[in-house]
């Protein structure tokens, strides 16, 4: 049976009834919902009208009519209802109308669906859904968007001021902005977001201007943090998620960036004051607020660095002043300083870890600050020396026996950390080595484990080369004890060789130990025999080794046969040699003693002082004053006595500072030479600036080389034909193989 052709007007009439019914449903008027039959009929009508043979193929007309249906409804019903409402009411109406419209589109596009399948696809026209939505967009949205936006923004500002608003309404309105873009965010961004962001900026700009004048830094920060939290909250409730980043940036900019300087530099509550008053929480907040802002933390880190530097420098000044006032116990001031440095470091490291979340910027600030004041000289001592003395005080007997092992280890750990900030590490090493030598050789070390412990830590921090000599020294001592046992065995086995005096020898490996001058002291004959015996023994163990005796480091136990009683005197070798001279004469002049001992003025004066002008007067000096002069006469003091049976008469240590500095300077010259040669050997040709730069870098682990010193070494190397200047460019050097 042939299908009956549907006439256009007839068909459209039928469709119109369906459309009207739909409209009534949308308006909330009483209507029965569409039955499946009704739906089918409407669909089929369209189908038929589209599949009829031309000229009864009405696809185009139907397509146009579809659109018209929306346009007509919108113009007659929707727009008027919107126009008569304002602000929040208008928004509600808009939301409702949009929902309705979507329903209408859904239904109508189902009725007209057949158009989508062939006609639209063939002609590549916009689909039914798109047409439907664009009707709303073009007629409704375009008209109301500005007012809608204004209304929304007004509500947002209202909420900012603390009033309650209908958040779901805003969400629905903004959903329209998003959906109307039909897959693109353009409408949302251009019609709403841009303005909203600007409005936000203005809002916070005025707030900030107000607050910054009145509020203290912590209060301002609290407000800022609160505002940011609220804005984020706003996004999660009704703004589109893509707005969050931009919104937060705007707020941050107005509240935190624009007024950063003024905020951080507030007189009594800014960054500096917070540090001063240990306001940990406020500083943590400051970190949280500024760390997302590019370069936001730079000024904070700067203030942090300045603050620490100021505190450190003040400590240095304090120590300097204190040592200027007291002449006695001057050493202890500097030791107090090191302790204070450690405390300062602990305090601010805690800040870096806690408040500033371990951020590298703050680690750097701390490091740079410490590098500034840790390298200042205090009362003539460099910081390298101070640290070495501090270690010596902990490690020597009577130094820190009250502290527990853990406490000592902890302190040593912290001292080694401080060393990282000192540029003259090689100077520290040399002072440390000298003091270590004294501890080891005069048995003044409190605890072997602690000695090993600090060497391990130094090795970890500064590398094996730094500690290799020191470790060698410790090993030497162990070996020396073994050696001594073997020596005593030897003496037992060779009784004829026995010198008649108990002799303990410590053999040191040259190179590990600091360099000591050995003088040709004229030994008393008893001692000479001792030396020869040991030499014979040593040659049975190892040939090809040269023994050089360092008398300045020895100790002798001499029995003084005084009138009242015998007393054992524990003295260094030089004074012992001097005392033994009095076995042959009761009175000796300064020059006689000097000639007989064959020592320099310096050493003679020191040893005679310790025997005649110090606590125990073993010798009587004429004239009886406290200074040694070359005209003095010395007489053995028979009447000397003491309640003890054994007394120690040490020599005060000669000032080693000058020698240490000289030695280190010399080593540095060699180190610079070696570095230059090493660099030039591998590069063959290198410009002056580059060479200096690489030298500084290579040597930086141990010390900061002086540019002038490097230049002098270069000149020297040129003279020694290691390098030459390039013929064409005198600023470039060539390596001469």
């Amino acid at each position: 049976m042939e299908r009956k052709t549907i006439d256009f007007d007839q068909g459209w009439d039928y469709m119109q009834k369906g459309i009207t019914k739909l409209k009534r449903i949308l308006e909330g008027l009483p209507e029965t919902p569409f039955s499946s039959e009704e739906y089918m009929m409407l669909y089929t009508t369209i189908y038929n009208m589209c599949t009829q043979k031309p000229p009864y193929d009405f696809s185009q007309q139907l397509y146009d009519k579809y659109k018209e249906a929306f346009d007509e409804y919108i113009k007659t019903t929707v727009l008027p209802s919107l126009r008569e409402k304002h602000d929040e009411f208008m928004l509600r109406e808009l939301v409702q109308r949009w929902l309705n419209h979507k329903v209408m589109v859904r239904w109508l596009s189902r009725f007209f669906h057949y158009l989508d399948r062939y006609f639209i696809a063939r002609r590549s026209l916009p689909g039914l859904n798109a047409v439907g939505l664009s009707c709303f967009r073009d007629l409704v949205y375009m008209e109301v968007r500005v007012n809608a936006r204004k209304a929304v923004i007004a509500l947002i500002d209202k909420e900012r001021e603390g009033e309650q608003i209908d958040r779901s309404l805003l969400k629905n309105v903004l959903d329209i902005f998003v959906e109307i873009g039909m897959g693109e965010m353009d409408q949302y961004e251009q019609d709403f977001e841009v303005q909203m962001l600007e409005d936000t900026a203005d809002y916070y700009k005025s707030k900030a201007t107000n607050w910054i004048e009145i509020d203290s830094c912590p209060d301002y920060m609290l407000k800022a943090e609160d505002c940011l939290r609220r804005e984020r909250d706003r996004v999660s409730h009704y703004l589109h998620s893509s707005t969050e980043q931009k919104l937060v940036e705007k707020v941050q900019h107005e509240l935190l960036v624009t007024h950063a300087n003024q905020l951080l530099e507030k007189e009594n509550s800014g960054c500096h004051a917070l540090l001063r008053d240990d306001k940990v929480e406020d500083l943590s907040r400051m970190y949280r607020l500024y760390h997302k802002i590019p370069k936001g933390l730079d000024p904070v880190a700067n203030v942090f660095k300045q603050h620490i530097t100021a505190e450190g420098t003040a400590l240095v000044q304090q120590a300097e002043d204190a040592s200027n006032q007291t002449t006695s116990g001057s050493g202890s001031q500097e030791q107090v300083l090191v302790r204070k440095f450690i405390e300062l470091h602990d305090k601010y490291m805690a800040y870096v870890n806690d408040c500033f979340m371990n951020h590298t910027l703050f680690h750097k600030a701390l490091k740079e600050a410490f590098e500034i004041f840790c390298n200042k000289t205090v009362a003539g001592s460099s910081s390298a020396e101070l640290l070495a003395t501090f270690c010596d005080n902990i490690l020597k007997k009577g130094g820190s026996e009250k502290l527990s092992d853990e406490a000592i280890e902890e302190t040593l750990e912290k001292v080694v950390k401080l060393l990282a900030y000192i540029s003259d590490k090689d100077l520290f090493a040399e002072f440390y080595r000298k003091k270590l030598a004294r501890r080891l050789l005069f048995d003044r070390s409190a605890n072997d484990d602690h000695e090993k412990c600090i060497l391990t830590k130094l090795k970890q921090q500064c590398g094996g080369q730094f500690t290799s000599k020191m470790e060698g020294m410790v090993v030497d001592l162990t070996l020396a004890r073994d050696n001594q046992m073997k020596f005593e065995e030897y003496l037992r086995d060779n009784s004829h060789a026995n010198p008649g005096i108990d002799l303990t020898v410590t053999v040191l490996t040259t190179g590990f130990w600091p360099s000591y001058k050995s003088f040709d002291l004229n030994l008393p004959s008893e001692m000479i025999k001792c030396l020869e015996v040991f030499k014979d023994f040593y040659e049975t163990k190892t040939k090809h080794r040269k023994l050089t005796w360092i008398y300045s480091l020895g100790t002798c136990h001499v029995i003084g046969k005084f009138e009242a009683k015998n007393i054992e005197l524990v003295v260094p070798t030089y004074p012992a040699a001097a005392l033994l001279l009095f076995n042959n004469a009761d009175r000796l002049s300064y020059s006689e003693i000097m000639t007989q001992l064959n020592l320099a003025h310096e050493d003679i004066a020191r040893l005679l002082h310790s025997l005649s002008c110090a606590k125990y007067k073993i010798l009587i000096k004429e004239p009886n004053n406290k200074t040694i002069s070359p005209n003095d006469i010395f007489e053995f003091n028979y009447k000397f006595t003491d309640k003890m049976r054994r007394i120690k008469i040490p020599l005060p240590p000669a000032d080693e500072r000058k020698k240490v500095i000289e030695d280190v300077d010399k080593d540095r010259r060699y180190a610079i030479d070696a570095a230059i040669v090493r660099i030039m050997k591998s590069r063959k040709v290198l410009g002056h600036q580059q060479l200096v730069l690489e030298c500084v870098e290579q040597l930086g682990r141990m010390f900061k080389p002086d540019i002038k010193a490097i230049k002098k070494r270069i000149e020297d190397l040129i003279t020694r034909d290691y390098l030459e200047r390039d013929k064409d460019n005198p600023n470039t050097f060539r390596y001469l193989a």
Binding site: H688, K708, K711, E715, I718, T719, R725, N731, T732
Partner: protein, 180 residues
Amino acid sequence: MHTLLGRKGTGKTVTFKAKVSREALTQLSKLVESRVSTGVTIFDELSMLMSRLDLTVDFSEFSRFYDFVFFMCRDNGQKNIAVSRAVTAWKLVLAGRFSLLHPWCDFVEKNQRYNISEDTWQQVLAFSWCTRDNLEAYDPEGAWPVLIDDFVSRCTGLVSLWPNKASYIFIRILMINYHC
């Protein structure tokens, strides 16, 4: 000797010239050694030599002569020359070529403890050439010997109160005053 130094040679004459220079050098050193005993100083010799040479030659020619003067001033077996000798030689050889000659010589005499190395000697000529118009051409970051660095910082240090430009003007005045 003067013909060799005064003319630019072709390729063939250059190698020939080099060979003859070496021979001439050996001869001259022997001459110098023998003359020492007769009481004639090297500076007399040097003056005589200079009078016979055409010293209006260009810079590279002159520098060869200048380098040779160092060689003349050396004692046998020594790598460097004594300060006093260097100063006398400079006053002879660089007269009219180094505007800061006299302040330089004063400075060196007062401040230099060690002997003058060959490299320093050569760099002094380079320095005189570099700063012939003004001291600004001197680059403090350059590879100048430390002695020259110290000299310049002494010169500019004297007028450190004045802004940079003025200090260079002062140096120019200094140069003009000393210009021979």
